[in-house]
Symmetry: D2
Subunit: 136 residues, 4 copies
């Protein structure tokens, strides 16, 4: 593994559904918050990446829902980047724990660096590569 | 009143919360769908408006929640434009009815025509004004 | 394959993000709408299933994002149930096409039949099994 | 005024729309987070209120959008309860400021105390009234 980062967030009422749990589609939002803070901790704000003309859309998304998350719980999300991004992709893995320390969700997303002008995939920007060079 | 339009839509599971009803924030989405179809019926696609460099952000939003909307119900939304937009604003009024014909929500939104380049309010575009001239 | 169903829906403004495309987390909502209509076409309303004390939470969710979906586009979603559900699970597969007929997203979800009282997985309800018996 | 509370939160990517700003419907979520933390600061968790059989649905909602909120900004939300709730209602007022201290949104919501069993409005629970007695 090359980098790991942990955040906590509280489940909002808006994120629940009538089953009384967090709606499954909202885990994608939790993953987004987690990976944005992960790369911020690495030294890069995703916002500034977009301002530099690089988009980072999601290409693949996988989630396994082990146990439900409930309203008002504080969830802990561990985000891992297992490999330094090489070509035009970067992968994040997630584990979500509830307040009792029980793992309730695991997932992964693969994102693609895209040139905003051309709309085409591009190589990992140098400013991102360098962050990983410092780590290893 | 200068124009009225009615649409129906079905409540999605994602739109409910753990109270078992539609989350109050999601009515804003219903209003959005309703007013977009209202102006499409008038003869204008909001998408084309944005392509012409005009944005239409919401300036004011009011909702009264009379009775809950439930999962899987088909809601009927009546949208009214009571006055031809003059300066840089347009107002929509909404009434939402459930499957029993009971009124469950009323609301209104005021939107502002904004020049995408400058980010400043602009006059109602001619192509919008003309749609109302035909009506009256 | 045992059952296939197709629906169409229009992308809402609320579903876009500042990249100008549908936010990746919202495909889960599209899948939900598609599978609910799929089982309705089979002869079962998911709402009535919950009223009978059976919940159907998502256990696994996979998505591949091939091309972006844009505001106001009418998307066509094909939902497939490839195998009759046997134990306590049911799997749905999805293909999403844009207005040009281009495939833009594929995905799958596995859901678990859960007894609302106990919160434990349960066997596929008879009323669901029977729908598939009629098909084959 | 009887009580005021301030929170901060960061705008999520999921909350933006293709205009590049926070979607207007998402302010309702910000208000929800703000008022839940406001009553927690007062000494009451909304979650425990529901566990006691009291729901607190929104009856009226008003928002004025003064300036846009942008992705990744940290917003500051001031929530005010101007009057001790008396009959069955409680009103919250909100002001949202961006990172430059500029006010970008004001709003208010009126919520109704509802008995979960009967679905009917009920008097403000004693445990809530008492919180305000301590204040004054």
């Amino acid at each position: 593994m090359v980098f790991e980062h942990t955040i906590s967030l509280r489940v909002r009422y808006a994120e629940t559904d009538q089953m009384g749990y967090v709606y499954y589609g909202n885990y994608a939002i939790y993953y987004e918050v987690a990976r944005v803070e992960c790369i911020r901790a690495l030294g890069c704000s995703y916002k500034s990446l977009e301002e530099d003309g690089i988009l980072l859309p999601v290409y693949e998304h996988y989630s396994k829902f082990i146990a439900p998350a409930r309203y008002d719980e504080i969830l802990t999300i561990k985000t891992r980047i297992k490999e330094k991004p090489t070509s035009s992709r970067i992968q994040f893995e997630y584990e979500i724990f509830n307040e009792n320390g029980k793992i309730i969700n695991i997932g992964s997303t693969t994102l693609v660096f895209v040139n905003k002008q051309t709309g085409r995939p591009c190589l990992v920007p140098d400013r991102i590569s360098r962050l990983f060079d410092v780590l290893s």
